[in-house]
């Protein structure tokens, strides 16, 4: 298709400039971006966090968040200038002709109303349908999005359906007035891979069936490759390049785009097998644990040896983090035990000695909540140094400087900063330094890279690998991202519903034959190939992907 036979573009953004307020100044967020979108076309917007993807997506609706202002340029939607349009005109467009799907459906639905009532709100307010018609249409859309029990699911409350279902219900809600444009803001980022694939397939079907134009915002290249006709890459508010999806994937022009494409190249060399008589640093033995009466772990056993990384993979709710809580002593198990260096650890952390506590450290997923926002970096890292090693004054300062040096942050600049003055990657490095300060043998890494951009995440993985080689640390690496597993793991434990499905060395895990569940997990990870989803659906059929398939395995 050439530009001439597509006709008038649906969305035309020219030289858009957006500023955000921080303290007393207005800082540019978007620095003059152009965007053209035709009817029925899907545009992928990718970039790191802070690149201005979401801000640009919202600006395509003529909307700016609080503390953000559109300072220049124009946004035309189907011949209407959205920046000059009256509130009345915009009210008539938004929800009816332009719709928005947010990242977290769980946070965006009103928990006090049933799904179908929220679905029907837009058509009723815009006068396009009566309540009965809107509800009927909602059920039809639920059916097309392959939600289970489409006639009945709408009458549930948001907390009564799963995350992936909620995300699909939200897509259905966006479709309720058959809009010309839908903006998807990271709709699958918060979902497991097996759930993500279902949502992706559903969104793609619906967008194709109704000929809706879409802007698909994500930081995951493999996802955008499945969804978009064209891809636009953003970096710090500026466009890096834009091209057709296939062209972009096979032949990126800019250096930055190439670095994004190459990010998953890190992989550690395989280590020699552990001698059979070696004592594992941590040994989880037949652990069964429960929250109250609900049993969440069933007979879980695995060993972690010095200098090795064991990756524990599985969907959310599979018991990965619960296993970590049992090892740290936060959740005493109902049966079974945890050994450290061949010695049984007391089940409750309050009964463990200072020395035992020191040996087991933890790095958290959300660095924001893992660092006390009111303490300086020096205090955060200095506390375990003082607490365990008894160092004070000059010696403590030197040790903290050493630790900052190990995590590749210059001590003099960062010592007196607060966590809020650091970037996400830097915060995660501080979390690592705090764990190292205790000089442990064993560190639990709980989804440490999943909240980070890919480039930053790779830096963290390389840092962890280097520290392991230098200090002979043992890691338990909790993750749902198989690319991370490939990069860093020596051994893999696959968990589902609180049970270990399969365990073995990394090489074993990534070569067939697999356990059916491992196979499902592996096949659900999107690949950079734009035909991957199409091929997978053709090969397996709609009913053998995602939750539907996962439920069949038991």
């Amino acid at each position: 298709m050439t530009d001439s036979d597509k006709g008038q573009p649906l969305v035309e953004i020219r030289d858009l400039r957006i500023e955000g307020r921080s303290d007393e100044d207005w800082n540019p967020i978007i620095k003059g971006v152009d965007l053209t979108l035709h009817k029925g076309e899907v545009l992928g917007l990718i970039g790191e966090s802070g690149a201005g993807k979401s801000t640009l997506g919202l600006a395509a609706m003529g909307f700016a968040r609080d503390g953000v202002r559109i300072s220049g340029g124009s946004v035309m939607f189907d011949g209407i200038d959205l920046l000059a349009a009256s509130a009345e005109t915009k009210r008539k467009l938004v929800g009816k002709r332009i719709a928005y799907v947010a990242q977290s459906a769980a946070a965006s639905f009103n928990p006090a109303h049933k799904l179908i009532d929220q679905h029907a709100e837009a058509p009723i307010n815009h006068g396009t349908a009566t309540k009965a018609e809107a509800e009927q249409d909602g059920m039809e859309l639920y059916r097309r999005l392959r939600l289970p029990n489409p006639d009945e699911i709408g009458f549930r409350y948001p907390h009564q359906v799963s995350g992936g279902q909620l995300q699909r219900a939200m897509t259905a809600m966006a479709m309720s007035c058959r809009p010309d444009l839908i903006i998807f803001d990271e709709p699958t980022t918060a979902l497991d891979v097996t759930t993500q694939i279902e949502v992706l397939a559903a969104i793609r079907d619906v967008v194709e069936q109704f000929g809706t134009a879409a802007i698909y915002i994500t930081h995951d290249l493999a996802v955008v490759a499945q969804m978009a006709d064209r891809i636009k890459v953003l970096l710090r508010g500026e466009e890096v390049e834009e091209n057709e999806t296939r062209e972009m994937l096979s032949n990126p022009k800019e250096e930055y785009t190439r670095s994004l494409w190459a990010v998953r190249s890190f992989e550690r060399p395989e280590k020699p097998p552990v001698p059979t008589d070696a004592t594992p640093v941590v040994s989880v033995q037949n652990v069964t644990a429960a929250y109250g009466k609900v049993q969440v772990l069933h007979d879980v056993s695995f060993d972690i040896h010095a200098g090795r990384t064991v990756a524990v993979v599985g969907e959310s709710g599979s018991g990965k983090s619960t296993t970590a809580r049992v090892i740290t002593g936060l959740l005493p198990p109902k049966a079974g035990q945890v050994e450290l260096d061949g010695q049984i650890l007391p089940p409750d952390y309050r009964k463990r000695s200072k020395e035992q506590l020191r040996q087991v450290q933890m790095i958290y997923q959300m660095a924001d909540t893992a660092l006390n926002p009111r303490k300086t970096i020096g205090e955060i890292i200095g506390r375990p140094v003082q607490f365990y090693m008894g160092l004070t004054g000059r010696k403590k300062r030197d040790r903290v400087a050493d630790l900052l040096d190990q995590i590749e942050l210059p001590a003099e600049t960062y010592l007196d900063r607060l966590p809020s003055e650091l970037s996400g990657g830097q915060k995660q490095r501080i979390g690592i330094a705090r764990a190292l300060a205790a000089e442990p043998k064993f560190i639990i890494c709980d989804e440490v890279t999943s909240a980070l951009d890919q480039l930053v995440a790779e830096g963290i993985l390389r840092l962890l690998a280097r520290l392991q080689d230098e200090l002979n640390l043992a890691y338990m690496f909790i993750t749902h991202d198989l690319a991370t597993v490939k990069a860093i793991a020596d051994e893999v434990v696959v968990m589902k519903d609180g049970e270990v499905m399969e365990q073995g060395s990394k090489a074993q895990m990534f070569t067939p034959p697999h356990h059916p569940y491992t196979d499902l997990l592996l096949s659900s990870v999107p690949e950079m190939d734009p035909d991957w989803l199409t091929n997978l659906l053709a090969e397996r059929g709609r009913d053998n992907i995602g939750d539907a398939a996962s439920d069949k395995i038991d």
Partner: protein, 400 residues
């Protein structure tokens, strides 16, 4: 009935005027977004506000004395209020200007973003604190000194019943009101401050303890607090004060100590609830878990990890709680069981001079006697609320 109809008709006319004003605005500015996107309700609000301001100006320029030669009390009081308001606004503005140019970089920045109300609040609080601390130096006479002239009117004008020696007048037994107001700052504000401090020490530490330990301790403490909160606080305080006054016997200072303890305990229940709720939100954070797993003790957890993150809501609550305590003490004193004479106290002063309010219609100056003490109470309460509002808005991160 007709008055109601008049008001209704006036509102309808204002609504029409609002529509008209918006229409004219749209035409005159060439459909600027401000007028174009203005809902009718907002336009009505603007017109109503303008009408009230115009009515106020008209009323301000009415003659102060009626045709019969007596002073018109309504106009006089309105004059006082307007003058006070303008004076307060100017003082706040100047204070904020001062703050923007004097001090450290941090304090200058603070003042640059400060609304006028907050500047006013801070100024008033500083003045009250200054008065309370230096009461002995500032007051012209002692708080218990009795003079010959009783019921001297404020203003110091001998021709209308004042006395130049007592610029704010004297009370029924001839004590200088200005000195008593100044000493009242020390007594009332000082005792209220001490009471609030005790309430926070008690309620805050127990609340954090309940949030950190949870389990049965939390249950026991929370249920005890529930029971205490179920009884209306003023009536409960009155009841306990009656018992306490029997215990205290002739020792008046002991009664004041009992009052501080009673009000502190009653108010600590509210602080407990807040501290527990705030603490619960902080305790679930990963950095608390990290500290627990490090093997830190309870004291470190509460004072080094939780408290620094709870200061903003607690400080705001401290301001509000101070107002409530202060008003409770004034109310108890007004009812005769609070701060005991001869100590000067604003609540007691209002009670003692209360009957003069009956003269408001004939002699505004006479009515001013109880109003001064009541105004001192109201002013501090308003000032503290202004500051608390500003602090809450700052900590909630709202920009616009």
């Amino acid at each position: 009935m007709t008055a109601l109809l008049y008001i209704l008709a006036a509102l309808v006319i204002l609504l029409a005027l609002g529509w008209l004003a918006r229409f004219v605005g749209q035409k005159a500015t060439g459909n600027k977004p401000l007028f174009r996107d203005m809902p009718l309700a907002v336009a009505f609000g603007y017109v109503l506000g303008a009408a009230i301001v115009i009515a106020g100006i008209w009323y301000y320029f009415q003659p102060v004395t009626t045709e019969q030669g007596t002073p018109d009390a309504g106009v006089t009081f309105f004059h006082w209020a307007v003058h006070g308001f303008i004076l307060a606004a100017i003082a706040a503005f100047l204070f904020r200007l001062l703050g923007r140019h004097v001090g450290t970089a941090g304090s200058k920045k603070l003042f640059r973003h400060m609304p006028l109300t907050a500047a006013f609040g801070i100024l008033v609080i500083i003045l009250y604190a200054f008065t309370a601390i230096f009461a002995g130096v500032l007051a012209p006479y002692g708080q218990e000194e009795v003079f010959a002239q009783v019921n001297a009117l404020p203003g110091g004008d001998a021709s209308v019943g004042g006395n130049p020696d007592h610029p704010l007048g004297t009370d029924q037994i001839g004590r200088d009101l200005m000195s008593r107001l100044i000493y009242g700052a020390q007594n009332t504000v000082g005792i209220a401050f001490a009471t609030t401090l005790i309430a926070f020490l008690l309620g805050g530490s127990l609340g954090f303890l309940a949030a950190t330990i949870q389990g049965w301790l939390d249950q026991v403490l929370s249920r005890v607090v529930d029971v205490l909160m179920a009884i209306p606080s003023l009536i409960f305080a009155l009841l306990l004060m009656t018992i306490a006054s029997a215990w205290a016997g002739s020792q008046q200072w002991l009664l004041t100590v009992y009052m501080v303890v009673i009000i502190a305990v009653i108010d600590s229940t509210r602080v407990f609830r807040l501290a527990r709720a705030v603490g619960m939100n902080i305790v679930v954070m990963d950095y608390i878990e990290a500290a627990k797993l490090r093997g830190e003790g309870l004291g470190y957890l509460i004072f080094r990890e939780i408290l620094p993150n709870a200061t903003a809501p607690l400080l705001a609550e401290f301001g509000l709680r101070f107002c409530f305590v202060f008003l409770t003490i004034a109310a108890l004193s007004f009812l005769g069981v609070g701060i005991q004479p001869p100590l000067a106290d604003w609540g007691t002063m209002v009670r003692d001079l209360a009957q003069f309010i009956n003269f408001a219609a004939f002699s505004p100056l006479t009515a001013a006697l109880p109003i001064m003490a009541a105004g001192a109470i109201a002013l501090l309460t308003v000032a503290v609320n202004f500051v608390v509002d500003w602090m809450l808005q700052k900590s909630s991160g709202l920009k616009e």
